[in-house]
Every structure is written in structure tokens, then in C-alpha cells.
Symmetry: C2
């Protein structure tokens, strides 16, 4: 965890707050380039409720807003996300580093990511936790839908 | 492989052909409900080139076009896809069955899916193979971009 990571996560939290103001699921993500100058390629937030979208998780929004990038760009980038849900996109593009705000409210595929050589940093950030806790309390159904039915202690294994 | 699977894959191929006519990457997918009557929840094709999209793989397009579904619906559905690229979405929603047209032109995360209990059927379909072979020959750069740089025999491990 570095000053750059704290800054990157702060940008992701800004996105989560935008989502919250829109009445959406408050999760935000930012894709930032590696190297000496931090280039913000794209940022976004979960759009399930705003756009009736089944796929626009925060990480996906950030990737989509970044547009088409050459494949080498992803290989040097870090994905900052307030909560981690979207492993597939990270593996597909070969993003080597993921910084996650917290993993108390949802534990994503961190073990899988690590087993594929992705560096995973969990910040355990209080602001991220508070944002999600309030949302889950106020909107349990929407949350359950967003995580594919894992919200109710059902039989579905986490994946 | 059943008559229903051949029909489901045929719908996915129709989507791939639409993508081809649009000048896009010719991969199509259809999400079909289980049970006695096959409900087509959504269908779609890869939109990288048409929409400059980094995330609208065929499976994602099909999921997005299906709109917001209750989480139980996914648990009984089958994803038909001419070529498999988008493991993350399948795992997240807990889709229990995937029918893949071919896996010669790209081998997706079939082992991972199987290790999570997903039934994976590979049809080894000649039409699917021919569609992709021609596209990859004619557009090697776009194909490389769509699969995160795996197209050139580079150092990137498949994920
Ligand atoms: Ca998200
Ligand atoms: Ca695709
Ligand atoms: Zn996702
Ligand atoms: Zn994908």
C-alpha cells in the first residue's frame, strides 16, 4: 500500500459516491496506468440500477469508459475498486495488480486472482465498508441480484 | 449434446453472422432457460469493433440484452456461445451449463468452469470454426486486442 494506492482508491471512492447519489449500488473503480506518471485510463461505477444493466459492474464500467486500449496497456495497469466483483475482466485483460477497498461486504475471487499471478492488495478502508453496509441494509434485493443470489445465504457457492 | 443444444448453438451462430455482416468479430451467444420450454432470455454478439467496446464480448452482450433477471433464472439457464471468452460473467451469475461451438481458435476457461461445477459441452462445430478462422486471418490485430494480447504467441499466459 503506497501513497499512489491511497490516491487511486480515493478516485474509486469518488465513483462509488457518484453511484450512490444516482441511487445505484455504491461501487466504484478506476483503471490507472503504471510507470512514473499515473495515467487514469478510465473510471466508472456500478450501473445495474441506473441502466438496468446486468453487466456494468464497477470494474466493467471503468474498462468500458477507458475504451479500446492496446493489449499492452492493461499489462501495466492497476485496477482500483472499492469492492471486487469482476474477476473475469481482470484475468482476460491480464491486469497484473488489483487494489480493493474492502472485502468484508463481499469477498471476490482474490484467491483465484493470486493463483494466476495477480497482485491483490486489500486496503480494508472504513469509508468503503460504510458505503456498502448502508446500501446492503437499505436495498437487500438489489444487492442480492447484483451478486447473483449470493446475498441471502443461499446454497450458491461463491465464485 | 442434444437436439436442443444444436438449436441453441444455431441461434448463437445467427448472432455471429450478424456480427460478421456488421464488420465485427464474428462471435455470438444466446442465454436460454432450462426446463420443458426453452425461453430465450437474451442473445447478442461481440461489439468491440461496432461500439468500440472493451467489454461487450458475445456472452456479455447476451447477458446485457437479457436485462435484469432474478438471480434464480441464471441458475437454470444454458449459455450457448460460438466461442468462449467470458468466464467471469458465467461464474458470477452461477450459470450451470455452457455450450461452446468450438475451442480450436481460442480455448477459454473451460477447466476453471468445470472445476466450479459448470457443465461444459464443446460442439466442435465446423461453421463456428470457419467463421473465426477467416476473421482471424483477415483481422489479426483486432483479434489480438479482443483477447488481451494472447493472439500473437506472446508471453501472456492464457487466463
Ligand atoms: Ca461492481
Ligand atoms: Ca465474445
Ligand atoms: Zn462483473
Ligand atoms: Zn468477456
Amino acid at each position: 500500500m503506497s501513497a499512489a494506492d491511497i490516491q487511486g482508491l480515493a478516485l474509486a471512492i469518488v465513483q462509488a459516491e457518484i453511484g450512490k447519489r444516482e441511487g445505484g449500488i455504491p461501487i466504484g473503480s478506476v483503471l490507472i496506468g503504471g510507470g512514473s506518471e499515473a495515467i487514469v485510463y478510465g473510471s466508472g461505477h456500478n450501473l445495474r440500477m441506473q441502466n438496468s444493466s446486468a453487466i456494468l459492474h464497477a470494474e466493467m464500467s471503468a474498462l468500458e469508459n477507458a475504451g479500446r486500449l492496446s493489449s499492452g496497456v492493461y499489462k501495466q495497469a492497476t485496477m482500483y475498486t472499492t469492492l471486487s466483483m469482476c474477476t473475469g475482466a481482470i484475468l482476460l485483460y491480464g491486469i497484473p495488480r488489483v487494489v480493493i477497498g474492502e472485502n468484508i461486504n463481499f469477498k471476490g475471487e482474490e484467491d483465484l486472482l493470486r493463483s494466476r499471478g495477480v497482485e491483490v492488495v486489500v486496503m480494508d478502508d472504513e469509508q468503503c465498508k460504510a458505503l456498502m453496509q448502508k446500501f446492503i441494509r437499505d436495498h437487500p434485493n438489489e444487492w442480492d441480484e447484483d451478486i447473483g443470489g449470493r446475498g441471502r445465504g443461499g446454497e450458491v457457492k461463491q465464485s
